[in-house]
């Protein structure tokens, strides 16, 4: 009669710890391999298709069965999870900054990761466009229309959303081109954010706010998200407006060397990412509304992806510089909202 309490306790604790033994993906011999792809929010549909196609290719080529585990979330949060030990074999995130952080803080992959694959390790690109309500009642055609009186703009907070940082930079690019100086750019962007009634924490949250809650006249969005919302959330309820100037968004991909090595999945992981650059991969990319790099594929989808003037992240000195200047505490974005400066 003396035992029950401590015994029960001990059993439960051992049970808890015991569970930790059965975890982790990876390769168990030749028969099959499992890859964990840690990605950001808008790629769910894309990688569903890519994974199925690659699994087939891989089976034909090696006889091995490859299965996938997907994790989606905000790009920064996903990056942090990988740094803190989420054992991703590959990461496919919204911005290079989030993968730089892995190289820098956790040494999970070499600092030159971005030069290991073609096109800055971004097999697909996108840009920033406007989603407006059907018939474009506010007559939104370009950036200056967003700051007309009475126009409400929906965009998430660049402090918490990777996509929103691209939005910010696109707006900045317009402000700089129109006004000719950084000061003019900042003035335009500040004006733009004064038209923003809600700063959602993520890009999908912002889309929901615009589409489901009916808030705002314009949603600044990834082109792929805008095309998808148009398709998924009610055809004929929205129009897409392509501005005169925007930013070339390059969502990068990378093998997380340390994890892939530990799991023995390096080869499959590398081939998986290479697959994205093949014509087949590029076709899937285009069908999921991302702009393909392959010119032949791009030509086939020219109707979906209009040409426009685009600046790149290099025009801002790369992500490290842009993050520090615009989005870090005390940066330009904080200055726009007044105070918050680090002293």
């Amino acid at each position: 009669m003396r035992a029950p309490f401590p015994a029960v306790m001990a059993a439960l604790m051992i049970g808890t710890i015991g569970l930790s033994a059965c975890s982790g993906g990876g390769s168990n011999g030749k028969g099959s391999v499992e890859l964990l792809n840690v990605s950001y929010d808008p790629t769910r549909e894309l990688y569903k298709d890519v994974n199925a196609a690659f699994a087939k290719r891989w089976k034909d080529k090696t006889g091995q069965t490859v299965s996938f585990r997907m994790s989606h979330g905000g790009s920064g949060k996903q990056s942090r999870s990988v740094i803190d030990g989420l054992s991703a074999d590959v990461v496919t995130l919204a911005l290079g900054y989030d993968i730089d952080a892995m190289a820098e803080r956790a040494k999970l992959l070499p600092a030159n990761w971005q030069s290991r694959l073609p096109d800055n390790s971004a097999p697909y690109t996108s840009t920033i466009v406007f989603l407006v309500r059907k018939g474009n009642p506010k007559g939104i055609r370009d950036w200056p229309d967003l700051v007309k009186p009475g126009v409400q703009v929906i965009t998430p907070s660049p402090k918490t959303s990777g996509g929103a940082r691209w939005n910010f930079l696109a707006a900045w690019a317009y402000g700089k081109k129109a006004g000719g100086s950084d000061a003019a750019a900042q003035k335009y962007v500040a004006n733009l954010y004064s038209h923003v009634p809600v700063l959602d924490s993520g890009a999908r949250g912002a889309t929901t706010t615009f589409v489901e809650r009916g808030l705002g006249d314009v949603l600044i969005a990834w082109e792929n998200e805008a095309l998808l919302s148009e398709k998924e959330l009610g055809a004929g309820k929205f129009d897409i407006v392509v501005p005169s100037i925007s930013v070339l968004a390059e969502p990068p991909v990378a093998v997380v060397d340390a994890n892939a090595k530990a799991h023995g999945t390096e080869r499959a992981a590398t081939e998986y990412l290479n697959f994205l650059y093949t014509p087949e991969g590029q076709e899937i990319v285009a069908r999921n509304f991302y702009r393909p790099r392959d010119q032949a594929v791009m030509a086939r989808h020219a109707a979906t992806f209009p040409k426009l003037d685009m600046v790149t992240i290099q025009d801002f000195g790369g992500w490290g510089a842009a993050q520090k200047r615009f989005f870090a505490d005390g940066g330009v974005f904080d200055a726009i909202y007044g105070g918050g400066k680090r002293r």
Binding site: L19, S23, R69, D84, G85, E232
Partner: protein, 281 residues
Amino acid sequence: MSGSHPTTVESPWARRALIGVGFLFLALFLFLPLVMVFAGALAKGWQVFFDALVDPDALAAIRLTLLVAGISVPVNAVFGVAAAWAIAKFDFRGKSLLISLIDLPFSVSPVVSGLVFVLLFGAQGWLGPWLTEHGVRIIFAVPGIVLATVFVTFPFVARELIPLMAEQGRDDEEAARSLAATGWQTFWHVTLPNIRWGLLYGVLLCNARAMGEFGAVSVVSGHIRGLTNTMPLHVEILYNEYDFVGAFAVASLLASLALVTLGVKTVLEWRFGIHRAGAAH
């Protein structure tokens, strides 16, 4: 307790007004959100609703949620009984402090509750390197989710039992002792029967919270589909996939769970006529 004492009872008019205001308040803040969940779940009919629930990822989320609750609730129940015994049956200094420490998880922001485990077990955390070396996964795996859930639901059982056991005093136990019962006999045959309904009430609330916890679990889960997504996380994922019906369907399952929990509780109270045991949180 009907109004047989006219001097201490409001006029029927005032009574109706008060009840009306209470109803209106509850309707706005409790019932409408609940109705909203079910309306959203059934927006496209029953078929879509059921399809959302039998989706393999949804089933995996349900299984994981049951597993997590199945571990954390008994652990906290055992702890709660021990803590209530120590606190309610004995006098010692610093009792308020100890109770406050037990209460702490109630008021720690769920985000922080998750963060502390990352600081502790994350690859960059205190124990991270050691764990990696020995191939033990805590966060971004089931143990981390269990730990975060145990943390968040820590006070429920203890908080339910402490006032109840304090109220009951220790006369019964002392009588049993004087009849030469051992400590364990006293506990099993005297204390446990006294507190069993309060214990059950605490377990039910603890269970409801364990299954519903979102913030803390979200930080330590890693969001791997079909592997480390609990039901509340799955709701968020579906919502972010613009699958609103699916999101509300899984949510309605959780809400039904809340309702079933409440139903069980009400039946117990009614059957055993327990005075709302220790509800003085």
